[in-house]
Protein backbone atom coordinates (compact mmCIF):
# COMPACT_ATOMS: atom_id res chain seq x y z
CA UNK A 1 0.00 0.00 0.00
CA UNK A 2 2.75 2.37 1.04
CA UNK A 3 4.69 1.74 -2.19
CA UNK A 4 1.60 2.22 -4.31
CA UNK A 5 0.96 5.62 -2.75
CA UNK A 6 4.61 6.50 -3.24
CA UNK A 7 4.33 5.54 -6.89
CA UNK A 8 1.27 7.71 -7.37
CA UNK A 9 3.01 10.62 -5.73
CA UNK A 10 6.10 10.06 -7.85
CA UNK A 11 4.21 9.98 -11.13
CA UNK A 12 1.52 12.44 -10.24
CA UNK A 13 2.08 14.74 -13.21
CA UNK A 14 1.49 11.84 -15.61
CA UNK A 15 -1.60 10.78 -13.75
CA UNK A 16 -2.90 14.34 -13.93
CA UNK A 17 -2.27 14.44 -17.68
CA UNK A 18 -4.10 11.17 -18.26
CA UNK A 19 -7.11 12.12 -16.16
CA UNK A 20 -7.40 15.61 -17.64
CA UNK A 21 -6.96 14.32 -21.20
CA UNK A 22 -9.73 11.77 -20.74
CA UNK A 23 -12.16 14.49 -19.69
CA UNK A 24 -10.92 16.83 -22.39
CA UNK A 25 -11.28 14.19 -25.10
CA UNK A 26 -14.86 13.55 -24.06
CA UNK A 27 -15.69 17.22 -23.69
CA UNK A 28 -14.14 18.33 -26.95
CA UNK A 29 -16.21 16.13 -29.24
CA UNK A 30 -19.32 15.95 -27.04
CA UNK A 31 -21.61 17.79 -29.41
CA UNK A 32 -20.45 16.53 -32.78
CA UNK A 33 -23.26 16.17 -35.35
CA UNK A 34 -23.63 12.66 -36.78
CA UNK A 35 -22.69 13.93 -40.24
CA UNK A 36 -19.18 14.53 -38.96
CA UNK A 37 -18.72 11.18 -37.22
CA UNK A 38 -16.65 9.69 -40.00
CA UNK A 39 -14.34 12.64 -40.67
CA UNK A 40 -13.84 12.99 -36.92
CA UNK A 41 -12.97 9.32 -36.59
CA UNK A 42 -10.56 9.68 -39.46
CA UNK A 43 -9.01 12.82 -37.96
CA UNK A 44 -8.59 11.14 -34.58
CA UNK A 45 -7.06 8.22 -36.43
CA UNK A 46 -4.43 10.52 -37.89
CA UNK A 47 -3.72 12.08 -34.49
CA UNK A 48 -2.89 8.79 -32.82
CA UNK A 49 -0.30 8.47 -35.56
CA UNK A 50 1.77 10.44 -33.04
CA UNK A 51 3.08 6.96 -32.21
CA UNK A 52 5.49 7.71 -35.08
CA UNK A 53 7.56 9.68 -32.55
CA UNK A 54 8.21 6.46 -30.69
CA UNK A 55 9.15 4.74 -33.94
CA UNK A 56 11.61 7.49 -34.79
CA UNK A 57 13.20 7.21 -31.35
CA UNK A 58 13.48 3.41 -31.69
CA UNK A 59 15.01 3.79 -35.14
CA UNK A 60 17.39 6.51 -34.07
CA UNK A 61 18.63 4.59 -31.03
CA UNK A 62 19.06 1.30 -32.86
CA UNK A 63 22.59 -0.08 -32.91
CA UNK A 64 23.65 -0.02 -36.60
CA UNK A 65 24.96 -3.60 -36.23
CA UNK A 66 21.69 -4.91 -34.80
CA UNK A 67 19.78 -5.81 -37.95
CA UNK A 68 16.68 -6.97 -36.11
CA UNK A 69 16.30 -3.63 -34.35
CA UNK A 70 17.07 -1.75 -37.56
CA UNK A 71 14.53 -3.75 -39.54
CA UNK A 72 11.78 -3.50 -36.95
CA UNK A 73 12.41 0.21 -36.42
CA UNK A 74 12.41 0.88 -40.15
CA UNK A 75 9.11 -0.96 -40.57
CA UNK A 76 7.68 0.93 -37.60
CA UNK A 77 8.65 4.29 -39.12
CA UNK A 78 7.03 3.36 -42.46
CA UNK A 79 3.83 2.15 -40.83
CA UNK A 80 3.64 5.13 -38.50
CA UNK A 81 4.15 7.54 -41.40
CA UNK A 82 1.41 5.76 -43.34
CA UNK A 83 -0.90 6.27 -40.38
CA UNK A 84 -0.09 9.96 -40.05
CA UNK A 85 0.10 11.02 -43.69
CA UNK A 86 -2.65 8.75 -44.98
CA UNK A 87 -4.89 9.70 -42.06
CA UNK A 88 -4.59 13.44 -42.54
CA UNK A 89 -4.89 13.28 -46.34
CA UNK A 90 -7.99 11.06 -46.23
CA UNK A 91 -9.60 13.34 -43.65
CA UNK A 92 -8.83 16.37 -45.76
CA UNK A 93 -10.38 14.74 -48.80
CA UNK A 94 -13.56 13.98 -46.91
CA UNK A 95 -13.80 17.49 -45.52
CA UNK A 96 -13.06 19.08 -48.87
CA UNK A 97 -16.42 17.77 -50.00
CA UNK A 98 -18.19 19.20 -47.00
CA UNK A 99 -16.89 22.63 -47.82
CA UNK A 100 -18.42 22.37 -51.28
CA UNK A 101 -21.92 22.18 -50.05
CA UNK A 102 -21.74 25.16 -47.78
CA UNK A 103 -21.32 27.56 -50.64
Amino acid sequence: METLLEKIALHQDYIYIVVLMIFLGIEVIGRVPSVLHTPLMSGANAIHGVVIIGAIIVMGKADPSNYLALGLGFLAVILGTLNVVGGFVVTDRMLEMFRHKQK
Partner: protein, 481 residues
Protein backbone atom coordinates in the same frame (compact mmCIF):
# COMPACT_ATOMS: atom_id res chain seq x y z
CA UNK B 1 14.37 22.51 -23.97
CA UNK B 2 13.12 23.59 -27.36
CA UNK B 3 11.79 20.08 -27.93
CA UNK B 4 9.62 20.36 -24.81
CA UNK B 5 8.03 23.50 -26.22
CA UNK B 6 7.52 21.77 -29.56
CA UNK B 7 5.78 18.86 -27.90
CA UNK B 8 3.62 21.30 -25.96
CA UNK B 9 2.61 23.04 -29.19
CA UNK B 10 1.87 19.67 -30.78
CA UNK B 11 -0.35 18.65 -27.87
CA UNK B 12 -2.26 21.92 -28.09
CA UNK B 13 -2.65 21.49 -31.83
CA UNK B 14 -4.14 18.01 -31.33
CA UNK B 15 -6.68 19.30 -28.83
CA UNK B 16 -7.55 22.30 -30.97
CA UNK B 17 -7.71 20.16 -34.11
CA UNK B 18 -10.06 17.67 -32.53
CA UNK B 19 -12.24 20.48 -31.21
CA UNK B 20 -12.48 22.09 -34.64
CA UNK B 21 -13.10 18.76 -36.32
CA UNK B 22 -16.37 18.42 -34.46
CA UNK B 23 -17.82 21.52 -36.09
CA UNK B 24 -18.65 21.50 -39.84
CA UNK B 25 -17.49 25.07 -40.40
CA UNK B 26 -14.02 24.66 -38.94
CA UNK B 27 -13.39 20.96 -39.53
CA UNK B 28 -11.00 21.24 -42.43
CA UNK B 29 -8.89 23.86 -40.72
CA UNK B 30 -8.82 21.72 -37.58
CA UNK B 31 -7.43 18.81 -39.55
CA UNK B 32 -4.69 21.01 -41.00
CA UNK B 33 -3.78 22.41 -37.59
CA UNK B 34 -3.42 18.92 -36.13
CA UNK B 35 -1.35 17.90 -39.16
CA UNK B 36 0.94 20.91 -38.73
CA UNK B 37 1.42 20.08 -35.05
CA UNK B 38 2.26 16.51 -36.00
CA UNK B 39 4.80 17.63 -38.59
CA UNK B 40 6.45 19.88 -36.04
CA UNK B 41 6.62 17.08 -33.48
CA UNK B 42 8.16 14.68 -36.03
CA UNK B 43 10.83 17.12 -37.18
CA UNK B 44 11.55 18.17 -33.61
CA UNK B 45 12.02 14.55 -32.56
CA UNK B 46 14.38 13.80 -35.42
CA UNK B 47 16.68 16.76 -34.87
CA UNK B 48 16.38 17.66 -31.20
CA UNK B 49 15.71 14.43 -29.33
CA UNK B 50 18.37 13.52 -26.77
CA UNK B 51 18.73 10.54 -24.52
CA UNK B 52 19.09 11.26 -20.83
CA UNK B 53 22.87 10.91 -21.26
CA UNK B 54 22.86 13.49 -24.05
CA UNK B 55 23.33 11.20 -27.07
CA UNK B 56 21.42 12.22 -30.15
CA UNK B 57 19.55 9.97 -32.52
CA UNK B 58 21.41 8.29 -35.35
CA UNK B 59 20.45 6.29 -38.42
CA UNK B 60 19.14 9.37 -40.22
CA UNK B 61 19.22 7.53 -43.53
CA UNK B 62 16.88 4.87 -42.24
CA UNK B 63 14.57 7.40 -40.59
CA UNK B 64 14.21 9.59 -43.65
CA UNK B 65 13.95 6.56 -45.91
CA UNK B 66 11.04 5.26 -43.85
CA UNK B 67 9.40 8.67 -43.68
CA UNK B 68 9.65 9.16 -47.44
CA UNK B 69 8.37 5.68 -48.30
CA UNK B 70 5.49 6.06 -45.84
CA UNK B 71 4.61 9.53 -47.11
CA UNK B 72 4.58 8.51 -50.76
CA UNK B 73 2.52 5.36 -50.24
CA UNK B 74 0.21 7.04 -47.72
CA UNK B 75 -0.48 10.04 -49.94
CA UNK B 76 -1.05 7.93 -53.03
CA UNK B 77 -3.33 5.52 -51.22
CA UNK B 78 -5.33 8.31 -49.59
CA UNK B 79 -5.67 10.29 -52.84
CA UNK B 80 -6.48 7.34 -55.06
CA UNK B 81 -9.05 5.64 -52.87
CA UNK B 82 -12.65 6.00 -54.03
CA UNK B 83 -15.06 7.83 -51.75
CA UNK B 84 -16.98 4.57 -51.31
CA UNK B 85 -13.90 2.81 -49.96
CA UNK B 86 -13.05 5.54 -47.43
CA UNK B 87 -14.00 3.55 -44.30
CA UNK B 88 -11.79 0.63 -45.35
CA UNK B 89 -8.91 3.01 -45.86
CA UNK B 90 -9.34 4.58 -42.43
CA UNK B 91 -9.41 1.11 -40.93
CA UNK B 92 -6.20 0.15 -42.70
CA UNK B 93 -4.39 3.31 -41.60
CA UNK B 94 -5.56 2.65 -38.06
CA UNK B 95 -4.12 -0.85 -38.28
CA UNK B 96 -0.77 0.61 -39.38
CA UNK B 97 -0.70 2.76 -36.25
CA UNK B 98 -1.44 -0.27 -34.10
CA UNK B 99 1.29 -2.28 -35.81
CA UNK B 100 3.70 0.61 -35.30
CA UNK B 101 2.97 0.61 -31.56
CA UNK B 102 3.43 -3.16 -31.41
CA UNK B 103 6.78 -2.98 -33.26
CA UNK B 104 8.01 -0.33 -30.84
CA UNK B 105 7.13 -2.65 -27.97
CA UNK B 106 8.92 -5.60 -29.60
CA UNK B 107 12.11 -3.61 -30.09
CA UNK B 108 12.03 -2.13 -26.61
CA UNK B 109 11.39 -5.50 -25.02
CA UNK B 110 14.31 -7.06 -26.86
CA UNK B 111 16.45 -4.17 -25.72
CA UNK B 112 15.29 -4.58 -22.15
CA UNK B 113 15.89 -8.34 -22.24
CA UNK B 114 19.42 -7.83 -23.58
CA UNK B 115 20.40 -5.36 -20.89
CA UNK B 116 18.96 -7.61 -18.22
CA UNK B 117 20.77 -10.68 -19.45
CA UNK B 118 24.13 -9.03 -19.80
CA UNK B 119 26.32 -10.20 -16.93
CA UNK B 120 27.65 -6.81 -15.91
CA UNK B 121 24.17 -5.57 -15.31
CA UNK B 122 23.81 -7.95 -12.41
CA UNK B 123 25.51 -5.17 -10.50
CA UNK B 124 22.42 -3.11 -11.09
CA UNK B 125 20.91 -4.85 -8.12
CA UNK B 126 23.89 -3.90 -5.98
CA UNK B 127 23.89 -0.25 -6.94
CA UNK B 128 20.18 0.20 -6.47
CA UNK B 129 18.20 -1.49 -3.76
CA UNK B 130 16.74 -4.63 -5.31
CA UNK B 131 13.20 -3.38 -4.80
CA UNK B 132 13.79 -0.19 -6.78
CA UNK B 133 15.23 -2.07 -9.75
CA UNK B 134 12.36 -4.50 -9.55
CA UNK B 135 9.67 -1.84 -9.49
CA UNK B 136 11.31 -0.01 -12.39
CA UNK B 137 11.27 -3.27 -14.33
CA UNK B 138 7.62 -3.90 -13.52
CA UNK B 139 6.61 -0.39 -14.57
CA UNK B 140 8.51 -0.49 -17.81
CA UNK B 141 7.45 -3.97 -18.80
CA UNK B 142 3.78 -3.27 -18.08
CA UNK B 143 3.86 -0.32 -20.45
CA UNK B 144 5.70 -2.33 -23.12
CA UNK B 145 3.35 -5.29 -22.81
CA UNK B 146 0.24 -3.08 -22.85
CA UNK B 147 1.51 -1.39 -26.01
CA UNK B 148 2.18 -4.79 -27.57
CA UNK B 149 -1.21 -6.29 -26.76
CA UNK B 150 -3.34 -3.26 -27.60
CA UNK B 151 -1.34 -2.44 -30.72
CA UNK B 152 -1.50 -6.01 -32.05
CA UNK B 153 -5.22 -6.37 -31.36
CA UNK B 154 -5.83 -3.07 -33.09
CA UNK B 155 -3.71 -4.14 -36.07
CA UNK B 156 -5.23 -7.56 -36.72
CA UNK B 157 -8.72 -6.32 -35.87
CA UNK B 158 -8.41 -3.43 -38.30
CA UNK B 159 -7.21 -5.71 -41.07
CA UNK B 160 -10.23 -7.98 -40.54
CA UNK B 161 -12.54 -4.93 -40.49
CA UNK B 162 -10.92 -3.77 -43.72
CA UNK B 163 -11.45 -7.16 -45.32
CA UNK B 164 -15.07 -7.26 -44.21
CA UNK B 165 -15.86 -3.83 -45.58
CA UNK B 166 -14.49 -4.58 -49.01
CA UNK B 167 -16.10 -7.99 -49.04
CA UNK B 168 -12.95 -10.12 -48.90
CA UNK B 169 -13.81 -11.58 -45.50
CA UNK B 170 -17.25 -12.78 -44.54
CA UNK B 171 -18.94 -12.87 -41.16
CA UNK B 172 -17.85 -15.91 -39.28
CA UNK B 173 -19.15 -17.02 -35.92
CA UNK B 174 -19.20 -20.37 -34.18
CA UNK B 175 -20.85 -21.58 -31.05
CA UNK B 176 -19.09 -20.58 -27.87
CA UNK B 177 -16.97 -18.01 -29.63
CA UNK B 178 -17.58 -15.45 -26.92
CA UNK B 179 -16.43 -17.98 -24.36
CA UNK B 180 -13.23 -18.65 -26.29
CA UNK B 181 -12.65 -14.93 -26.74
CA UNK B 182 -13.08 -14.43 -23.02
CA UNK B 183 -10.65 -17.24 -22.22
CA UNK B 184 -8.13 -15.94 -24.72
CA UNK B 185 -8.36 -12.53 -23.10
CA UNK B 186 -7.68 -14.02 -19.68
CA UNK B 187 -4.70 -15.95 -21.06
CA UNK B 188 -3.32 -12.71 -22.51
CA UNK B 189 -3.64 -10.96 -19.17
CA UNK B 190 -2.14 -13.94 -17.34
CA UNK B 191 0.89 -14.21 -19.62
CA UNK B 192 1.50 -10.47 -19.51
CA UNK B 193 1.19 -10.49 -15.73
CA UNK B 194 3.62 -13.37 -15.50
CA UNK B 195 6.23 -11.66 -17.68
CA UNK B 196 5.88 -8.38 -15.82
CA UNK B 197 5.69 -9.92 -12.36
CA UNK B 198 8.88 -11.93 -12.35
CA UNK B 199 12.12 -10.00 -12.62
CA UNK B 200 14.14 -12.69 -14.34
CA UNK B 201 11.42 -13.36 -16.87
CA UNK B 202 12.55 -11.13 -19.68
CA UNK B 203 11.63 -14.20 -21.64
CA UNK B 204 11.47 -13.43 -25.34
CA UNK B 205 9.82 -16.74 -26.25
CA UNK B 206 6.84 -16.10 -24.02
CA UNK B 207 6.82 -12.53 -25.30
CA UNK B 208 6.43 -13.72 -28.89
CA UNK B 209 3.72 -16.17 -27.87
CA UNK B 210 1.94 -13.20 -26.34
CA UNK B 211 2.33 -11.31 -29.63
CA UNK B 212 0.79 -14.14 -31.64
CA UNK B 213 -2.08 -14.61 -29.20
CA UNK B 214 -2.78 -10.86 -29.25
CA UNK B 215 -2.97 -10.89 -33.04
CA UNK B 216 -5.28 -13.89 -32.85
CA UNK B 217 -7.47 -12.13 -30.31
CA UNK B 218 -7.90 -9.17 -32.64
CA UNK B 219 -9.07 -11.54 -35.39
CA UNK B 220 -11.52 -13.35 -33.13
CA UNK B 221 -12.74 -10.08 -31.67
CA UNK B 222 -13.84 -8.64 -35.02
CA UNK B 223 -14.79 -11.78 -37.00
CA UNK B 224 -18.20 -12.43 -35.43
CA UNK B 225 -19.32 -8.79 -35.63
CA UNK B 226 -21.59 -8.04 -38.58
CA UNK B 227 -20.24 -6.11 -41.52
CA UNK B 228 -22.87 -3.40 -41.04
CA UNK B 229 -21.37 -2.63 -37.65
CA UNK B 230 -17.84 -2.19 -38.91
CA UNK B 231 -17.77 1.62 -38.56
CA UNK B 232 -18.43 1.18 -34.84
CA UNK B 233 -15.68 -1.43 -34.61
CA UNK B 234 -13.22 0.75 -36.50
CA UNK B 235 -13.99 3.64 -34.20
CA UNK B 236 -13.40 1.38 -31.20
CA UNK B 237 -10.10 0.03 -32.58
CA UNK B 238 -9.19 3.62 -33.31
CA UNK B 239 -9.44 4.46 -29.64
CA UNK B 240 -7.44 1.29 -28.85
CA UNK B 241 -4.59 2.52 -31.02
CA UNK B 242 -4.81 5.82 -29.18
CA UNK B 243 -4.17 4.02 -25.91
CA UNK B 244 -1.33 2.04 -27.50
CA UNK B 245 0.28 5.31 -28.59
CA UNK B 246 -0.13 6.61 -25.04
CA UNK B 247 1.81 3.55 -23.79
CA UNK B 248 4.67 4.75 -25.96
CA UNK B 249 4.29 8.12 -24.26
CA UNK B 250 4.86 6.51 -20.86
CA UNK B 251 7.79 4.52 -22.20
CA UNK B 252 9.66 7.55 -23.52
CA UNK B 253 8.31 10.11 -21.03
CA UNK B 254 6.94 11.80 -24.11
CA UNK B 255 4.06 14.13 -23.36
CA UNK B 256 3.03 14.69 -26.98
CA UNK B 257 2.51 10.96 -27.45
CA UNK B 258 0.78 10.73 -24.11
CA UNK B 259 -1.66 13.60 -24.68
CA UNK B 260 -2.34 12.68 -28.30
CA UNK B 261 -2.87 9.03 -27.45
CA UNK B 262 -5.11 9.51 -24.43
CA UNK B 263 -7.06 12.25 -26.20
CA UNK B 264 -7.84 9.93 -29.11
CA UNK B 265 -8.50 7.06 -26.72
CA UNK B 266 -11.12 9.07 -24.82
CA UNK B 267 -12.64 10.87 -27.81
CA UNK B 268 -12.67 7.64 -29.81
CA UNK B 269 -14.51 5.79 -27.08
CA UNK B 270 -17.13 8.52 -26.84
CA UNK B 271 -17.44 8.62 -30.64
CA UNK B 272 -18.00 4.86 -30.66
CA UNK B 273 -20.81 5.25 -28.16
CA UNK B 274 -22.31 8.14 -30.15
CA UNK B 275 -22.28 6.00 -33.30
CA UNK B 276 -24.07 3.21 -31.47
CA UNK B 277 -26.63 5.72 -30.25
CA UNK B 278 -27.28 6.83 -33.83
CA UNK B 279 -28.31 3.24 -34.48
CA UNK B 280 -30.19 3.07 -31.19
CA UNK B 281 -28.08 0.18 -29.95
CA UNK B 282 -25.67 -0.32 -27.11
CA UNK B 283 -22.00 -0.98 -27.66
CA UNK B 284 -22.34 -4.34 -25.92
CA UNK B 285 -25.16 -5.24 -28.28
CA UNK B 286 -22.94 -4.44 -31.26
CA UNK B 287 -20.00 -6.43 -29.94
CA UNK B 288 -21.94 -9.48 -28.82
CA UNK B 289 -24.98 -9.63 -31.09
CA UNK B 290 -23.51 -11.20 -34.19
CA UNK B 291 -25.65 -10.17 -37.11
CA UNK B 292 -26.75 -12.70 -39.66
CA UNK B 293 -25.81 -15.89 -37.87
CA UNK B 294 -28.97 -16.51 -35.88
CA UNK B 295 -31.14 -13.78 -37.32
CA UNK B 296 -31.93 -15.19 -40.74
CA UNK B 297 -34.41 -17.85 -39.69
CA UNK B 298 -37.32 -15.89 -38.26
CA UNK B 299 -37.37 -12.90 -40.54
CA UNK B 300 -36.62 -14.74 -43.76
CA UNK B 301 -39.40 -17.24 -43.26
CA UNK B 302 -41.97 -14.53 -42.77
CA UNK B 303 -41.13 -11.92 -45.32
CA UNK B 304 -41.64 -14.05 -48.39
CA UNK B 305 -44.41 -12.97 -50.71
CA UNK B 306 -45.08 -11.32 -54.00
CA UNK B 307 -43.43 -8.16 -55.10
CA UNK B 308 -44.22 -6.17 -58.18
CA UNK B 309 -41.83 -4.66 -60.64
CA UNK B 310 -42.14 -1.31 -62.32
CA UNK B 311 -40.79 -0.33 -65.74
CA UNK B 312 -38.45 2.58 -66.37
CA UNK B 313 -41.03 4.55 -68.33
CA UNK B 314 -43.67 4.09 -65.65
CA UNK B 315 -41.17 5.30 -63.08
CA UNK B 316 -40.41 8.35 -65.20
CA UNK B 317 -44.10 9.21 -65.51
CA UNK B 318 -44.76 8.64 -61.83
CA UNK B 319 -41.88 10.91 -60.86
CA UNK B 320 -42.68 13.67 -63.36
CA UNK B 321 -46.30 13.99 -62.30
CA UNK B 322 -45.62 13.89 -58.60
CA UNK B 323 -45.72 17.01 -56.45
CA UNK B 324 -43.15 15.86 -54.06
CA UNK B 325 -40.42 13.25 -54.45
CA UNK B 326 -38.15 12.03 -51.70
CA UNK B 327 -34.93 10.26 -52.60
CA UNK B 328 -33.51 7.81 -50.07
CA UNK B 329 -29.88 7.07 -50.95
CA UNK B 330 -28.10 4.01 -49.61
CA UNK B 331 -25.02 1.95 -50.16
CA UNK B 332 -26.24 0.86 -53.61
CA UNK B 333 -25.92 4.45 -54.76
CA UNK B 334 -22.39 4.62 -53.41
CA UNK B 335 -21.30 1.36 -55.03
CA UNK B 336 -22.70 2.39 -58.40
CA UNK B 337 -21.09 5.85 -58.07
CA UNK B 338 -24.53 7.13 -59.00
CA UNK B 339 -24.44 10.40 -57.05
CA UNK B 340 -23.95 12.52 -60.19
CA UNK B 341 -26.68 10.68 -62.12
CA UNK B 342 -28.89 11.19 -59.09
CA UNK B 343 -28.22 14.91 -59.04
CA UNK B 344 -29.01 15.09 -62.78
CA UNK B 345 -32.37 13.42 -62.25
CA UNK B 346 -33.09 15.72 -59.33
CA UNK B 347 -32.34 18.83 -61.43
CA UNK B 348 -34.53 17.53 -64.24
CA UNK B 349 -37.44 16.95 -61.91
CA UNK B 350 -37.01 20.31 -60.24
CA UNK B 351 -37.20 21.97 -63.68
CA UNK B 352 -40.51 20.22 -64.20
CA UNK B 353 -41.80 21.74 -60.99
CA UNK B 354 -41.43 18.70 -58.75
CA UNK B 355 -40.24 19.29 -55.21
CA UNK B 356 -37.29 16.95 -54.64
CA UNK B 357 -35.68 16.25 -51.29
CA UNK B 358 -33.18 13.72 -50.01
CA UNK B 359 -33.86 11.77 -46.85
CA UNK B 360 -30.58 10.92 -45.18
CA UNK B 361 -30.46 8.21 -42.57
CA UNK B 362 -27.57 8.80 -40.16
CA UNK B 363 -26.05 5.39 -40.85
CA UNK B 364 -27.03 5.02 -44.50
CA UNK B 365 -24.17 3.57 -46.50
CA UNK B 366 -21.18 2.10 -44.75
CA UNK B 367 -20.38 4.87 -42.31
CA UNK B 368 -22.19 7.74 -40.64
CA UNK B 369 -22.22 10.76 -42.92
CA UNK B 370 -21.35 8.64 -45.95
CA UNK B 371 -24.31 9.86 -47.99
CA UNK B 372 -23.75 13.52 -47.15
CA UNK B 373 -20.20 13.25 -48.39
CA UNK B 374 -21.20 11.56 -51.64
CA UNK B 375 -24.05 13.94 -52.43
CA UNK B 376 -21.90 16.91 -51.56
CA UNK B 377 -19.39 15.59 -54.08
CA UNK B 378 -22.12 15.73 -56.73
CA UNK B 379 -22.96 19.35 -55.77
CA UNK B 380 -26.35 18.54 -54.32
CA UNK B 381 -27.66 21.58 -52.46
CA UNK B 382 -27.26 21.30 -48.70
CA UNK B 383 -30.82 22.56 -48.13
CA UNK B 384 -32.25 19.57 -49.96
CA UNK B 385 -30.80 17.06 -47.54
CA UNK B 386 -33.20 16.19 -44.77
CA UNK B 387 -32.10 14.47 -41.61
CA UNK B 388 -34.06 11.46 -40.49
CA UNK B 389 -36.47 13.22 -38.09
CA UNK B 390 -37.34 15.96 -40.59
CA UNK B 391 -37.78 13.44 -43.37
CA UNK B 392 -40.07 11.23 -41.32
CA UNK B 393 -42.40 14.20 -40.74
CA UNK B 394 -42.69 14.73 -44.49
CA UNK B 395 -43.17 11.21 -45.83
CA UNK B 396 -46.95 11.25 -45.31
CA UNK B 397 -47.38 14.08 -47.82
CA UNK B 398 -44.80 12.71 -50.25
CA UNK B 399 -46.06 11.28 -53.52
CA UNK B 400 -43.13 9.13 -54.51
CA UNK B 401 -40.23 7.83 -52.50
CA UNK B 402 -37.31 6.64 -54.57
CA UNK B 403 -35.11 4.28 -52.56
CA UNK B 404 -31.70 3.95 -54.18
CA UNK B 405 -29.88 0.91 -52.89
CA UNK B 406 -30.87 1.44 -49.27
CA UNK B 407 -32.29 -1.52 -47.42
CA UNK B 408 -31.88 -1.92 -43.69
CA UNK B 409 -32.49 1.77 -42.97
CA UNK B 410 -35.97 1.54 -44.51
CA UNK B 411 -36.87 -1.88 -43.12
CA UNK B 412 -40.14 -1.59 -41.18
CA UNK B 413 -39.15 -4.69 -39.19
CA UNK B 414 -37.06 -2.35 -37.05
CA UNK B 415 -40.33 -0.96 -35.71
CA UNK B 416 -42.64 -3.96 -35.85
CA UNK B 417 -40.68 -7.15 -35.35
CA UNK B 418 -39.06 -7.61 -31.94
CA UNK B 419 -37.30 -10.74 -33.25
CA UNK B 420 -35.46 -8.78 -35.90
CA UNK B 421 -31.80 -8.07 -35.20
CA UNK B 422 -32.31 -4.45 -36.19
CA UNK B 423 -35.37 -4.05 -33.93
CA UNK B 424 -35.28 -0.66 -32.24
CA UNK B 425 -33.11 1.04 -34.83
CA UNK B 426 -34.74 4.27 -35.96
CA UNK B 427 -35.65 4.03 -39.66
CA UNK B 428 -36.90 6.21 -42.46
CA UNK B 429 -40.63 5.56 -42.56
CA UNK B 430 -40.93 5.43 -46.33
CA UNK B 431 -44.02 3.23 -46.16
CA UNK B 432 -46.01 6.35 -45.17
CA UNK B 433 -45.62 7.83 -48.66
CA UNK B 434 -48.20 7.27 -51.40
CA UNK B 435 -45.81 5.32 -53.60
CA UNK B 436 -42.47 3.75 -53.00
CA UNK B 437 -40.07 2.73 -55.75
CA UNK B 438 -37.15 0.65 -54.61
CA UNK B 439 -34.10 0.39 -56.83
CA UNK B 440 -31.89 -2.58 -56.03
CA UNK B 441 -29.69 -4.85 -58.04
CA UNK B 442 -31.59 -7.94 -57.01
CA UNK B 443 -33.89 -9.24 -54.29
CA UNK B 444 -30.91 -10.21 -52.18
CA UNK B 445 -31.16 -9.02 -48.57
CA UNK B 446 -29.14 -6.07 -47.37
CA UNK B 447 -25.97 -5.94 -45.35
CA UNK B 448 -27.59 -7.07 -42.13
CA UNK B 449 -28.61 -10.24 -43.98
CA UNK B 450 -32.32 -9.91 -43.26
CA UNK B 451 -35.36 -9.75 -45.52
CA UNK B 452 -37.24 -6.49 -45.92
CA UNK B 453 -41.02 -6.70 -45.86
CA UNK B 454 -41.21 -3.23 -47.35
CA UNK B 455 -40.53 -4.81 -50.74
CA UNK B 456 -43.65 -6.94 -50.52
CA UNK B 457 -46.05 -4.17 -49.54
CA UNK B 458 -48.72 -3.18 -52.09
CA UNK B 459 -47.52 0.43 -52.32
CA UNK B 460 -43.99 -0.68 -53.15
CA UNK B 461 -42.67 -1.34 -56.64
CA UNK B 462 -39.27 -2.77 -57.41
CA UNK B 463 -36.98 -1.37 -60.06
CA UNK B 464 -34.05 -3.71 -60.55
CA UNK B 465 -30.70 -2.67 -61.92
CA UNK B 466 -27.50 -0.78 -61.26
CA UNK B 467 -28.40 2.55 -59.64
CA UNK B 468 -26.37 4.66 -62.06
CA UNK B 469 -27.72 3.02 -65.22
CA UNK B 470 -31.28 3.10 -63.92
CA UNK B 471 -31.07 6.77 -62.97
CA UNK B 472 -29.60 7.72 -66.33
CA UNK B 473 -32.30 5.74 -68.10
CA UNK B 474 -35.03 7.46 -66.08
CA UNK B 475 -33.55 10.85 -66.92
CA UNK B 476 -33.63 9.98 -70.63
CA UNK B 477 -37.22 8.82 -70.35
CA UNK B 478 -38.24 12.06 -68.64
CA UNK B 479 -36.56 14.15 -71.32
CA UNK B 480 -38.53 12.24 -73.96
CA UNK B 481 -41.88 12.67 -72.26
Amino acid sequence: MLLTVIYLLASVSFILGLKMLSNPASARKGNLIAAAGMGLAILGTIFLYEESDGTKLGNYGWIFGGLIIGTVIGTLAAKKVKMTAMPEMVSLFNGMGGACAALISITEFNHLAETLHQPHDVQLGEIFPASAAYSAWVGKSIVILAGLIIGSVSFSGSVIAWGKLNGKIHDFAFKGQHLINGLLFLVLLGLAGWIAGVYENANTTVFYVLLILSLLYGVFFVLPIGGADMPVVISLLNSFTGVAAACGGFLYNNKAMLTGGILVGAAGTLLTILMCKAMNRSLLNVLIGSFGGHAGGVAAARAQGNYKEISLSDTAILLTYAHKVMIVPGYGLAVAQAQHACHELEKLLTEKGVEVKYAIHPVAGRMPGHMNVLLAEADVDYDQLLEMEAANEQFSNTDVVLVLGANDVVNPAAKTDPASPIYGMPILEVELAKNCIVNKRSMKPGYAGIENELFFQPKTSMLFGDAKKVLEAISTEIKNL
